[in-house]
């Protein structure tokens, strides 16, 4: 399947257009998430937020981009130069790869052609996402280590131990979903939720997954890797200009992808009661999925500006002594449910 590379030209063009469109979408959503984050933070703190750049401050992400590109690009003298440069690139590269297996919709009819709105439906889609999530930490670790700064190193070490701890609970809650659907393909998992969303069968699993996703994205209350009150800037203390921009941007991309994966696993993906994803020539599917993931992005921001940060030992305690046992219980309950009640 992956090997006979006798693809027709049309196939290559179709996939290339889709990949470029997805990149543009992901980067655009990430850019406007920074704007959304500031506006929502301002709302929670009874401020106005960005308001000068363009109407309602809508051009703020553009202004940020100009700032990032024109600032001094600084490389510390004692750093591991190549790894220091590689780290932000590796981080954003891994973050951008996950969108390939997400089913954004059914089939889009545009200009007389049918576009399949999923770049590739590999039969291990969800494992691919988990694998990328576990590779994401390398950017942080390399950046923190190569900077040759003790605060960066602390940030990197914290990030890696946090990732390892929360990945386990995340994987275990995904196993319960896989048991329900009997497939590792995200497309199959989404299509099985046309009648009833998985969150109905997996309320505990959803809460576990949401918590772990917050931790994997390094979002508050789990942003130990970069908590500014203890570690200056954490792993990106020594970074400036667009290298810092890559790190910050990749975090917003991770958040968008996590929210989309949550929508696909627990909230029916592109299905919504009363709405057919094939409406508007297939455009309804992506609209439904994106609305769901924007809602979860809002929830992530809501949590960030409401909850205080955990202490580091509390974080580890929560991960190992609460989330993992709960995830195992959830898995057993799911197994028992399938055994006694069928699906």
């Amino acid at each position: 399947m992956s090997l006979i590379l006798l693809f027709s030209l049309g196939f290559i063009i179709e996939k290339a257009v889709l990949i470029i469109a997805l990149f543009a979408l992901t980067l655009g959503v990430a850019a406007y998430s920074t704007y959304g984050e500031r506006k929502i933070a301002a709302f929670f703190q009874d401020r106005l937020g960005p308001s000068n750049a363009g109407p309602w401050g809508l051009l703020q992400p553009l202004a940020d981009g100009v700032k990032m590109f024109t600032k001094e690009d600084f490389v510390p003298n004692q750093s591991e130069r190549w790894l220091y440069i590689l780290a932000p690139g590796a981080f954003i590269f891994v973050a951008l790869m996950a969108s390939a297996v997400i089913p954004w919709g059914t089939t889009l009819t545009l200009g007389g052609l049918n576009w399949n709105l999923q770049v590739t439906d590999v039969n291990i889609g969800i494992l691919y996402v988990v694998g990328l999530a576990s590779l994401g930490v390398y950017g942080i670790m390399l950046g923190g280590w190569a900077s040759n700064n003790k605060f960066s190193l602390y940030g990197a070490i914290r990030a890696s131990s946090q990732m390892i701890s929360y990945e386990l609970a995340m994987g275990l809650s995904i196993i319960a979903i896989v048991m329900l659907s009997g497939s590792l393909s995200l497309k199959t998992i989404v299509d099985q939720q046309a009648g009833m969303w998985n969150v109905v069968y997996q309320p505990l699993g959803f809460i576990l997954f949401l918590t772990c996703a917050l931790a994997e994205c390094n979002r508050a209350p789990f942003d130990m890797a970069e908590c500014e009150t203890e570690l200056i800037g954490g792993y990106h203390t020594e970074y400036s200009a667009m290298k810092l921009g890559f790190f910050l941007f990749a975090e917003y991309i991770n958040m968008f992808i996590s929210c989309t994966v949550i929508s696909c696993l627990y909230f029916g993906g592109y299905h919504f009661p009363g709405l057919d994803p094939n409406w508007l020539g297939g455009l309804m599917g992506p609209i439904i999925l994106l609305s769901k993931s924007f809602f979860f992005i809002f929830v992530f921001m809501w949590i960030r500006w409401t909850l205080p940060r955990f202490r580091y030992d509390q974080l580890m305690h929560l991960g190992w002594k609460s989330l993992i046992p709960l995830a195992i219980v959830n898995m057993m309950l799911t197994g028992a449910g399938i055994l006694f009640f069928g699906k």
């Binding site: 992956s2 090997l3 494992l127």
Partner: protein, 166 residues
């Protein structure tokens, strides 16, 4: 079409494995080893074993190597702190490893008939078939391996505890 990809991946894996052994800085060694794992995962995909490939990445590159890096960073091992072996040690190590290589090549040469699965139709490596084989034909070795892992985990926790009260 498959052969050039195989040769490229094989060359990458051998090259990065050599760099892993030869580089002086432990962190660089770990990074080269990660590249080796990626090349091997590519070989699994060539055999249409996507599940094995992705589990290989998750377990080795995503978890074990992260722990390696974690420990290296925590202990702050680097080129300066790494003890340098004398030339005699290096020579004897090289000879020992070379003899092992000769033995392995001699043992494997011509002994095993390898049939390369047909790629497009081969569904051997897909997760359904793998699960069926593991839980029917190989269920006893599989369970024994699981118990061994559990024992190793419990043992590691016991060794790690300092004030042991038995």
């Amino acid at each position: 079409m498959v052969l050039p990809i195989f040769l490229t991946l094989a060359a990458i894996s051998i090259l990065t494995a050599l760099l892993m052994v030869l580089s002086k800085n432990p962190v660089h060694s770990v990074l080269y080893l990660i590249l080796t794992f990626f090349a091997i995962a590519g070989q699994y995909i060539l055999l249409n074993a996507q599940f094995l490939a992705v589990v290989h990445i998750i377990v080795y590159a995503g978890a074990i190597m992260v722990l390696f890096l974690f420990v290296l960073m925590l202990l702050n091992l680097s080129k300066e702190t790494e003890p340098q072996k004398s030339a005699m040690w290096k020579l004897s190590g090289g000879i020992a490893a070379g003899m092992l290589l000769v033995t392995l090549v001699g043992a494997l040469r011509g002994g095993i008939e390898v049939t390369i699965p047909e790629n497009a139709s081969g569904k051997v490596g897909l997760v359904e078939n793998l699960g069926m084989v593991l839980f029917t034909d190989f269920v006893v070795p599989f369970e024994i391996a699981g118990i061994l892992f559990l024992a190793a985990m419990v043992g590691a926790v016991l060794v790690g505890k300092r004030d042991l009260q038995v």
